[in-house]
């Protein structure tokens, strides 16, 4: 302390000075950066940043970045898009803390969850719809909150039945079954012939795949978790019992692994030639062409089977949103307009093998679209017509998102096929969970 005493400073003074200096530096750094752009759509030399969903096709990232860069070049700035597998967690951090990237690609019904922190894109979305034959209903359900568009429905990821044509031929079936009961029949024949079996994921470890099967089957039998009002829980019904019965019959003839698959487990089994059918995006076929050419040659795709209520399918939605904390809202809107222009979106849809399928009706008949140009993808046109968001026939909402995240419908089926509960018990548990979520 001698040196401090010589300067006339006490230890307390020294500490106070140090703390004061530190706080001054920290507070100075805490100010707003003041880099908001000038009015209009010019970036004024700044960068737009965005968080995007990573795809199994690397060319999808390259194309989107290239299209964004081309736009930025004519708007005096740059666009930096980051593609990540766990982009949803990154978006949660950015939106909840109201700091960070300007825009992001939302998943499923996140537009409803983050609605109050997203920019209103109503004018843009309405004009895109008008220019392209109109939006499918599911696009509005996913992105319109309280009458305002909070995100641009970019595209949906088509979930389809991946099936082995050669194995089906061995049991006398040349076309994929049109109905769920037809699929049960095919599954039984494959099992009895001791061939690789049907394997539709139904486990907590594979939430997106399982939900796709569970909701689609439920709806195609006329059942629903909630009424149109979005409040009255409707899961305890004769239609639900019928859907569960079909799932029980299907599971009895299926590969036993269906209760333990994660999102990639069914891909691996199919690529190894161990199963004959599984639900998935077209990622299996994409991978098979490179790593399992025999499987690629002998497989095809089909839409989900129909039930008594027709073809109904859960839609995996991808939408573009601008975060309200962004200082570059007008340029971001203009960028979205550019990316959704037919010249750009059409190219994306062409290379994406239905991973990015536009929700605009005007794209259905374009000859360059994968469902019109690739034999193995024929029949997938207009899947969105029977597509719905979780919670249908009620509106997509925070509650329906919560029920989806709780995996209530998936667990209802999974409990029964794993023998942990009877159909009645399982429906009662699901009903209780849904009543807690919907409050009705």
């Amino acid at each position: 302390m001698a040196h401090l005493s010589r300067t006339g400073l006490t230890r307390r003074h020294a500490l106070s000075l140090g703390l004061g200096a530190g706080l001054t530096v920290a507070l100075a750094a805490c100010g707003e950066d003041g880099t908001s752009t000038a009015g209009g759509t010019s970036l004024g030399g700044a960068s737009l940043t965005g968080l995007m969903r990573a795809s199994f096709i690397p060319a999808i990232h390259e194309l989107q970045q290239k299209q964004a860069t081309a736009w930025a070049d004519s708007h005096d700035g740059a666009v930096e898009l980051t593609f990540a597998k766990e982009w949803r967690e990154q978006i949660a951090a950015v939106v909840e803390s109201r700091a960070g990237e300007d825009l992001g690609e939302l998943f499923a019904n996140q537009a409803h969850i983050y609605a109050d922190r997203l920019v209103d894109l109503t004018d843009l979305c309405e004009s895109i719809g008008e220019a392209n034959g109109g939006w499918y209903d599911v696009a509005r359900a996913a992105c319109v909150v309280d009458g305002r568009w909070r995100a641009v429905p970019r595209a949906y990821t088509a979930h389809v039945m991946n099936w082995r044509t050669d194995l089906f031929a061995q049991v006398g079936i040349t076309e994929f079954p049109k109905t769920w009961t037809g699929l049960v029949e095919a599954a039984t024949r494959l099992r009895d012939a001791k061939l690789p079996r049907v394997a539709l994921t139904m486990s907590q470890a594979g939430p997106n795949d399982s939900a796709s099967v569970a909701y689609s089957l439920l709806w195609s039998y006329g059942a629903a978790e909630v009424e149109k009002d979005g409040k009255t829980v409707a899961i305890n019904s004769a239609e639900t019992r019928a859907a569960i019965k079909v799932m029980q019959d299907l599971a009895a003839a299926s590969a036993p692994e269906i209760s333990s698959y994660d999102e990639g487990g069914n891909n691996t089994s199919f690529l190894a030639g161990k199963i004959a059918v599984t639900q998935n995006a077209t990622s299996i076929w994409y991978t098979a062409q490179k790593q399992a050419p025999d499987v690629a040659k002998n497989m095809s795709h089909a839409r989900y089977p129909e039930g008594p209520a027709g073809h109904q399918q859960l839609v995996e939605m991808n939408s573009l949103a601008i975060f309200s904390h962004s200082k570059r809202i007008e340029p971001a809107k203009n960028l979205f307009g550019h990316l959704m222009d037919k010249a750009q979106l059409g190219k994306l849809a062409e290379i994406a093998l239905t991973y990015y399928t536009p929700l605009l009706k005007g794209y259905d008949d374009l000859p360059t679209m994968p469902w019109n140009s690739e034999a193995k993808l024929k029949g997938l046109k207009g899947l969105a017509a029977g597509g719905h968001m979780p919670g249908w026939p009620g509106p997509a909402s925070r509650q329906s998102a919560q029920a989806y995240n709780n995996q209530t419908i998936v667990n209802m089926f999974a409990r029964v096929i794993s023998g942990k509960a009877s159909a009645e018990e399982s429906i009662r548990v699901a009903e209780g969970e849904l009543k807690k979520v919907y409050g009705g």
Binding site: L51, E96, A272, Q291
Partner: protein, 302 residues
């Protein structure tokens, strides 16, 4: 009679009876056998993940999907996954990022944590015990609870999407960890040594630096290694605070680039995990030697 070293020669031990000798030999043999079997099992258990990673990273594409049928046989080996990992991804950049963050954060945390540990372990002041509990409680707070408020702070400081964000945020759990771990080392030291130095005119700071710190050096080395490992394997903060691909550490970069949706690039993932573990193994090997020498030096001090 004395030996050259001056110690009295021990009288020869009486030979054990033949039955006792055989029993002793059997006991020794049994002990050796038990140790050998235990160590073999432990070695297999420890090394199996690495062997599995190596095997998977060397399998050809088609073999990767037949693992369940033939877990240990391969139709051919390839270095293609390593080539793709090193040339088609930013693996080397991610590894460098991890090294920068882990070394910087651990070093800074030591600079702050050692005096804090000294304070907790050696100084007696009002509320000292409460401070110790608070420091420990800070370490126990789960990252999932903190990452959103921390993201606000990180962005306010204009550190968003930089390695600086990770270095700053990692200090929030490294400093309490180091302070808590080292405080018990300081507590175990005899206070008389430092008191003697104080009587000889050394300031408290000098006594800490010259007398106490060398004695806890093995502990410092150990906590540095653990701090480095904590940084190296951290995932949630790295995922949410550093979004740009070229700025991510290896744990996040690997997963984001090589596991996309339901498509896993198993060969590259396992190759990356194997190579990504190397820096930790190398540093551990280096610090183990240093740790042992520090321990010996500490034992003869004073």
């Amino acid at each position: 009679m004395t030996t050259v070293s001056g110690r009295a020669a021990r009288p020869p031990l009486p030979a054990p009876p033949p039955r006792t000798g055989r029993l002793l030999r059997r006991l020794k043999l049994g002990r050796r056998l038990l140790i050998t079997v235990t160590m073999t099992l432990f070695t297999v258990f420890t090394l199996f993940p690495f062997v599995w990673m190596a095997l998977t990273s060397l399998r050809t594409g088609s073999d990767l999907y037949r693992v369940a049928d033939r877990p240990f046989s391969v139709s051919g080996l390839t270095l293609e996954h390593f080539r793709e990992l090193l040339t088609e991804t930013k693996f080397l950049t991610w590894t460098l990022n991890s090294l920068i963050v882990a070394l910087s954060a651990s070093a800074i945390a030591l600079v702050i944590g050692v005096p804090a540990a000294y304070s907790l372990g050696r100084l007696r002041y009002r509320g000292g015990a409460v401070v110790g509990v608070i420091v420990f409680s800070t370490y126990l707070l789960p990252p999932a609870l903190l990452f959103i408020p921390m993201n606000v702070v990180v962005n306010r400081l204009h550190l968003g999407n930089t390695l600086g964000a990770l270095i700053l945020v990692y200090l929030t759990f490294l400093v309490p960890f180091i302070a808590w771990m080292l405080s018990s080392y300081f507590q175990s030291l005899p206070v008389e040594l430092a008191e003697a130095a104080r009587i000889d005119g050394a300031s408290r700071l000098r006594a800490m630096m010259v007398i106490d710190l060398p004695l806890v050096l093995p502990g410092v080395v150990s906590v540095f290694f653990f701090a480095f490992t904590l940084c190296w394997q951290e995932y949630l903060y790295a995922l949410t605070f550093v979004r740009s691909t070229d700025k991510q550490p290896v744990a996040v970069g690997l997963v984001n680039a090589l596991q996309v949706g339901d498509v896993f690039a198993w060969g590259q993932l396992m190759g990356g995990a194997l190579l990504g573990a190397l820096p930790v193994v190398i540093i551990f090997s280096f610090l183990m030697d240093y740790y042992l020498s520090g321990l010996t030096a500490g034992a003869v001090k004073g």
